[in-house]
Symmetry: C2
Subunit: 637 residues, 2 copies
């Protein structure tokens, strides 16, 4: 992740020159009690410790010891078949690092350092680290750039090193990472021995961040080189084709993303990072085209992307199956990376809107409320008699990319809430807490997203003349209200309300976002949503789970305008249910053949029932069974 | 295939004792000029020769020579990675054999014998044949029953041997096959050294047919043994799980089919074959339950089955995606096998209805009109900008199970048109031609399915007192008419019209089936069909292809009752198009986000347009591009 200093002022004067908004330093924001503090606490209290246990059980840590020679064993002793298991360790270290910013736990420092010591021991004299290559491939480096993931793993190591350095001030991991980065520059840089790029983009964002951290432009140039070489076809015509690798055309001509979703979004994030530092207009131009194409028909209402199981890939336009949605948790995270960088690059609210949608839905569904079970794949529908793969969230995976990716995202969530520019502070995501830069700051109290009331207070010690910009989410455009010290402020259709004042401190700003259930329908070309509605409420997409319904979930079909009578019940803060009285009918499940002539009647008459919906992120926490986001509705065309 | 003698009277008096209907001898039926004669001619004139070329190019034939030692080479010389390539040769030989029944071509006899010689040379002293095991696995037999396909290949060899024997009277292939069958009985029979069964059912049907051909009950007992052992978990918990192999529960407790569709239907066919000979009621009971479950929600309107790409498997109930339909051509063929045996077992019209639906749609779409390109996967929808895999039909596949399976099906199609029982003759499928048993017979003239007029004549030399039963397809129930010598006959709701007379010869029977376009909708639980209609006409399911429309296919949305104005245009006999004037509207393709609040309007107003549809089986013959079977319609709920 390590996006906290993106485009922040750094040691080199031109850093972030083209960014419209600047990220805040990683320590600028602290969460207070609210929706996110509970989720972040579950991450800190359970996910991190469980992750260490799972990596130990899986042998992921011992693989580093095999590489170091501190544990004896040949290639057959290596744990797991995948070449990128080291990256699990790095992502976990990144998560622990960000966690250490908000705690002084000696225990967690010690745990981190002991894992860092394993990484350091596995590092070769010249800086190279990759346990898979060292143990399984006799140390033969860079022989499989398409699938080997060596640069991908290096990228995660660099991000972890930067996070550990920024969060704790320590250099133990950062020095390891930088030595490897320097080796990579020597190998792959303009004066290096190799011309190539990694099958899985990731190192590009890491290198730009390392440039931000050190001011050494060699890292930025290498990132630019990697994205510029891409599209030349080095990946070859392997299974799934060149689209899978985003290797079909040069990046500067790539106007629509295809193929593997995580690769696509990490690449776009890297391109955006290079743009943020170089300001090359062609890069922003293609990123906007790619974004628009993605949003037009390749993104689920949950913000999830990547429809296809076969190659974990983006579908064609409007290919958005609900039951077979792949929508990998890592793809949600990668899309958040990209959206964040687009927001910095343009200052436009649309990117924060999508960030929010992904955050509360497609991303958050990937981890259990308790924080120790994960979805890799996030369907929008499960049938009652489903025989599709594992049931429910899993504690870990043989390909465990998602769990530590969730961990580092939650541990660094505060980085994405606000930005600054020359005029002041912008709040993009509403979470209870405190935001303080050198000269500006706010305190935020809110029950968002369960309610829509956000109270912001200007601390006494942050007085001065500056602009506070508050994002009005797209779903609230035209209906939000703002009061400063009780006096209404003109909002209109603005996507950011900008309050420019000489703040004396102590002012209260009340933002009210009209959180009410909305029924949303999809473009008729989205086959699995045709004739259906989804229930949304604020930024949350809802779903109906079998165990809350009076009738079989598959039989539910809404009619009329049930949303007028919707009631919100908050059983606990993580499970805000919406009850909707609805005219619904049950389909006869005993028809021998499911096709009939248009105009003939099915065997059943409508009966009145109610629908109970819960936030999509909270599904499959009580039990695993039938679930659907899209509910048939007779008025939906 | 080799179903021609299924339940026919054979050398043992009890053969087919429990069959309600008996198959006719393979020579009993000949096609006249009509819909099917064109398809069968394309098969005979092009498919068979092209298939021989493709198998030669692919090295499939040379693999047999490697096994025989007539071509030198070690394991690395083996062509292809799959263990079941021999079965391509056997299916092709079966197809050529049935073709030889209707031609006296010395050239084709010679081609067949030269390939049979390769098979014979590859046979070991003790009867064993499998080029993959011999060449790639050092002759280590039966080491991988789940995936090795040794018994599967043997089954196809046996079926080819029987076909060659029945069609030509020759024993060259039959003797080879029987020697292998005897070895298998010695290995796997009740007194054999092994207790096991093949991961891919197929040999069961072949063994029952060999029992019918020879009267040797050892083959029937072994088939029964194979189906009885299944479900004991020998396949183990391999990828996709025990459902994939139909190995979760014993066959007699298996009340719903799951997993790999071709395996499932070949198994059900084998169980049905055993039932036809043993009459064990428990078998028919589970077959009926499996069938009903399949028809209730796991079959496409095309008759295709097997929704899932991942494991070529049946989906859950109502999991029938249109774009990601897998619906393997071989699964369509396997379902026809099963349907045919259920028809023999019960005499019920429902099985002939499904046989017909699969035959004209899900099966026939698998081969190009020209007869030399094939679909392995048969989607019901292709998007305009599809990036899903290969474009259009292919000349061959690395896994080439489908092409020769299509060939043997078309070459033996006449076997499935009619049956007999003690009372007379039953016609289930209408094709122009002649059906003659020892004492009964008819001549059929018809343009079916392009029109619905079927004229049947009783030949002078088939006079006598017997019953002619004519199937009324389910879609025509209650609307069909029958005249005998111009005099109307009471039809009512009958699914078979039974005409019992003392035929003098020369009588004409006119069956009129009201072939008109029908708009069909699906159960609302079929997500990809919700709010849509399919156009059907007679037994044909239609689809809209992009190149016939005035507007973008994805934009089409029907309203009103356009089918009243439908016109049929028959450009040529293979492409009977239906033009439907329809109110339709085009969706604005430029909406930046495809989700909107219910009740808000999309950006476009309806415009009048027309829809042109062609039979699904004929799609992708002029060009490959956007296509859909399910068309949005405002009256469809």
């Amino acid at each position: 992740m390590t996006a906290d200093r993106t485009a922040a002022s750094g040691p080199v004067g031109t850093l972030g020159a083209t960014a419209v908004l600047r990220a805040l330093p990683s320590h600028a924001t602290r969460l207070g009690t609210g929706f996110w503090s509970a989720r972040v606490a579950a991450n800190a209290e359970r996910s991190l410790a469980a992750g260490l246990e799972r990596m130990t059980e899986a042998g992921t840590l011992e693989n580093l010891e095999l590489a170091a020679g501190t544990v004896a064993g040949d290639a057959a002793a290596y744990h797991g078949k995948l070449p990128f298991l080291d990256s699990d360790v790095y992502k976990w270290l990144e998560a622990v690092s960000w966690h250490l910013q908000s705690t002084d736990s000696a225990e967690w420092h010690e745990r981190a350092e002991s894992v860092i010591a394993l990484v350091g021991a596995a590092q070769s004299e010249d800086g190279y680290i990759n346990s898979f290559v060292t143990v399984k491939h006799g140390g033969e480096r860079w022989t499989d750039l398409p699938s080997g993931h060596e640069l991908y793993c290096a990228g995660h190591l660099i991000q972890a090193g930067i996070a550990h350095h920024r969060a704790t001030g320590r250099t133990s991991l950062f020095d390891i990472a930088r030595r490897f980065a320097d080796l990579i520059v020597a190998e792959f840089g303009e004066d290096g021995r190799r011309v190539g790029y990694c099958g899985h983009p990731e190192v590009e964002t890491a290198l730009v961040e390392l440039y931000r951290e050190t001011g050494d432009a060699a890292y930025l140039r290498l990132a630019d080189r990697f994205i510029s070489l891409r599209g030349s076809g080095q990946m070859g015509d392997r299974p799934f084709g060149r689209r899978y690798w985003q290797d079909l055309v040069p990046v500067r001509e790539l106007r629509a993303l295809h193929g593997h979703a995580v690769r696509a979004f990490y690449l776009a994030s890297g391109v955006a990072d290079v743009y943020l530092e170089t300001g090359e207009p062609a890069l922003l131009d293609v990123l906007r085209a790619q974004w628009d194409d993605l949003l037009r028909g390749k993104t689920y209402i949950t913000g999830g992307s990547g429809a296809r199981h076969r190659d974990e890939a983006l579908g064609d336009a409007f290919e958005l199956p609900a039951d077979r949605a792949y929508t990998e948790t890592c793809a949600a995270i990668a899309l958040m990376h990209w959206a964040w960088r687009m927001q910095l690059a343009t200052g436009e609210a649309q990117y924060a809107d999508i960030f929010e949608r992904v955050l509360y839905n497609g991303f958050l569904a990937g981890v259990s409320l308790h924080g120790d079970h994960y979805f890799y794949v996030n369907p929008l529908q499960v049938r009652g008699d489903s025989t599709l793969g594992p049931q429910g969230r899993q504690a870990w995976f043989s390909c465990a990319c998602c769990p530590p990716n969730v961990m580092r995202t939650l541990a660094s969530l505060t980085h994405y809430l606000a930005t600054e520019d020359a005029d002041g502070l912008q709040i993009h995501q509403y979470a209870a807490g405190e935001i303080r830069t050198e000269t500006r700051g706010v305190t935020v109290d809110t029950g968002y997203p369960l309610d829509g009331n956000v109270r912001i207070t200007i601390p006494q010690d942050r007085a001065g003349n500056w602009t506070l910009a508050l994002r009005i989410p797209a779903w609230a455009n035209g209906t939000a209200t703002v009061h400063v010290n009780g006096e209404p402020v003109e909002v209109g259709d603005a996507d950011y309300v900008r309050l420019t004042r000489t703040w004396r401190g102590g002012e209260t700003i009340d933002l009210e976002l009209p959180v009410r259930p909305r029924l949303t329908q999809a473009d008729p070309r989205v086959d699995d949503a045709r004739g259906c509605v989804a229930i949304e409420r604020g930024p949350l997409v809802y779903c109906a789970e079998h165990l809350d319904q009076d009738t079989e979930l598959a039989a539910l079909s809404l009619s009329g305008r049930p949303w007028d009578g919707a009631q919100l019940q908050i059983a606990d803060t993580t499970l805000p249910t919406v009850l909707i009285d609805a005219a619904a009918h049950a389909h006869d499940t005993k028809e021998p053949w499911p096709y009939r002539e248009l105009g003939t009647k099915p065997g059943t008459a409508p009966t009145h029932t109610r629908v109970t919906a819960i936030p999509y992120f909270a599904w499959a926490n009580r039990a695993y069974g039938a679930m659907r986001v899209w509910l048939p509705h007779e008025d939906a065309r």
